[in-house]
């Protein structure tokens, strides 16, 4: 799993490539928390190249959503594939997360 971080007009875009599963969840969470500690509070999670997410990966997204809310920022999840969308729906998270079809569209929301 790989995370590519870019800045775009005050929004931090995290591109997650590969599998966000139990093995990689902690790395992803640490990466996010480090950015939040630097003062970032507006995020886009770009899932275009994320092949798979497990419940452990889901936890990272929830932790991020909670953190962003406490910082009074905003999180948009973009470009989910079918498997990823299913997991989010099953967990009920889809009702509390803002989603977008692409990262570009997500950036418009800020």
């Amino acid at each position: 799993m790989n995370i590519v971080t870019t800045e775009n007009n005050g929004v931090t875009v995290l591109e997650i490539e590969g599998r966000l599963d139990g093995l990689h969840a902690q790395t992803a969470e640490n990466a996010f928390l480090a950015l939040a500690a630097e003062g970032k509070k507006n995020f886009v999670f770009d899932f275009e190249r994320m092949a798979y997410i497990s419940s452990a990966g889901l936890r990272v997204v929830l932790v991020a959503a909670k953190k962003v809310r406490s910082l009074q920022g905003k999180l948009v999840c973009a470009a989910m594939n079918d498997q990823v969308r299913d997991v989010f729906e099953m967990s009920g998270f889809i009702s509390i997360l803002e989603t977008a079809e692409t990262a570009e569209e997500a950036l418009q929301r800020f």
Partner: protein, 452 residues
């Protein structure tokens, strides 16, 4: 008479001659014995400082000097380092480092050749530094290299030979003999020290690991004691069985079931979003809250709302997916609610497998002020309800394929007529055969409730 005198003279002369020879032999014997003793010492202990101390003391038996020191060559810097020293000023020379080539010792170390200096002041190679630092007045000194396999490892130096003569060639040769085996002994001592340190580190780490493992086992035992161990008897009009299999000693999946009244059986099953000790603790709290709050008048949805408020108010970094329900043992009706959990299945007596369409809500502790919704369904005689955690559907084989909901449905279609215990056993077997050698990556929990 004259012959007798002559004979006596010869004998006397012989005696005197023999006496001189005897002294010589005794001297040589003493030296040989000292060498032998040193050799024994080198094999007797592997602690370098002890060895060096003893060796030098032994050497001084044969070569009486005021002080002796042994210096080790630091191969990284080229400096000679004092390791041990004897004599009146012994303590003071322990810490000194000579720059490469400095002093007689430095010369010996760099050339690998022994040096006798019986007139230090007149010798241009002589370095005043050590003398000045210690106040030791050097009259003469003999320095020999310690060589192991062609490489200089250090230097052995003896200072101020007692008596009036300076150091002789014989002294030098003898001291070189002493130095020969010291190099090998030094290497052995160094390797031994390294091995000792590694062994100590290994022992410490092993002890810590063993303690952790035993604590985890204890925690696992405590955790299992939360779960109902006895299954209701065969007198009941239902057959319920559940199984928990953690990926580690303590896990995050949980289940529970108990009667809240004569004809109402409450059951729950869930999955904390982590593994190991944090998940286990969260799980214990969740189960306790559920047990504490559930009453016969409450619906599952109402229960989950209350439990979620409690858990979410502390804003923990964890959450728990959950499904729970109340089964009416007389009518077969089930009222169920869920939070973020994978869909349960009904297996009808005829073999049809239907997903239970629950109204989805959030996992427990994800957010405050969340509504949980109830739905109703009915089990006819012979129908079965299966609830499980995603450790089943997300079980992977070596090719990273998932067991998936599809395989689960295929399996369940084969189960009508089996008891709940049989179904659970068979399901675990099916999953593990699919997963093959791949290790269990997530906790597994399954519960089967059949209406007889």
């Amino acid at each position: 008479m004259a012959e007798w005198l002559y004979g006596a003279a010869i004998v006397a002369g012989g005696l005197v001659g023999a006496g001189i020879t005897y002294a010589g032999i005794r001297g040589r014997l003493a030296r040989s014995k000292a060498l032998f003793d040193i050799s024994m010492l080198l094999h007797s202990t592997l602690r370098r400082s002890e060895q060096m101390d003893r060796i030098i003391r032994t050497a001084r038996r044969v070569l009486p000097v005021e002080a002796a020191s042994f210096m080790l060559l630091d191969h990284d810097t080229g400096e000679l380092v004092f390791e041990v020293a004897q004599g009146d000023k012994g303590d003071e020379v322990r810490e000194i480092r000579l720059s490469p080539g400095e002093g007689i010792a430095g010369v010996v170390a760099s050339t690998g050749q022994s040096v006798i200096v019986n007139d230090p002041a007149g010798d241009p190679r002589w370095s005043e530094r050590v003398s000045q630092a210690t106040g030791f007045a050097t009259r003469n000194l003999l320095t020999v290299p310690i060589i192991n396999q062609g490489r200089v490892e250090g230097v052995l130096q003896v200072i101020n030979k007692r008596g009036r003569t300076g150091f002789t060639r014989k002294d030098r040769v003898w001291l070189e003999q002493v130095a020969k085996p010291m190099a090998v002994a030094l290497e052995n001592a160094r390797l031994y020290e390294q091995a000792e340190q590694s062994l100590m580190a290994l022992n410490t780490t092993t002890a810590i690991k063993e303690r952790l493992e035993s604590e985890l086992q204890i925690a696992g035992g405590i955790q299992m004691s939360f779960l109902p161990r006895t299954m209701p008897s065969s007198q009941e009009p239902y057959d319920i069985c559940a199984l928990l299999k953690s990926a580690k000693e303590v896990g995050g999946d949980f289940y529970n079931f108990y009667k809240v009244s004569n004809n109402l059986l409450f059951f729950t099953l869930g999955d904390v979003s982590d593994k190991g000790i944090p998940a286990a603790l969260f799980m214990a709290v969740t189960l306790t809250l559920i047990k504490g709050k559930m009453t016969q008048d409450m619906t599952p949805g109402q229960l989950l709302r209350l439990v979620n408020e409690e858990l979410a108010s502390d804003n923990p970094p964890l959450f728990a997916t959950i499904v729970c329900g109340v089964f009416n043992t007389e009518t077969g009706e089930i009222v169920m609610s869920e939070g973020g959990h994978c869909p349960p299945y009904i297996v009808r007596a005829g073999g049809e497998v239907e997903p239970v369409k629950l109204r989805k809500s959030l996992p427990l502790a994800a957010m405050q002020d969340v509504d949980y919704h109830d739905i109703s369904l009915r089990l006819e005689h012979g129908d079965r309800l299966i609830v499980y955690t995603d450790g089943i559907t997300e079980a992977e084989n070596a090719a990273q394929e998932l067991y998936s909901g599809e395989r689960l449905r295929e399996f369940l279609a084969m189960t009508p007529g089996m008891s709940s215990a049989e179904v659970i056993d068979a399901l675990l077997m099916h999953v593990f055969m699919f997963a093959g050698d791949a290790p269990q990556s997530d906790d597994i929990a399954v519960l089967s409730l059949m209406r007889k």
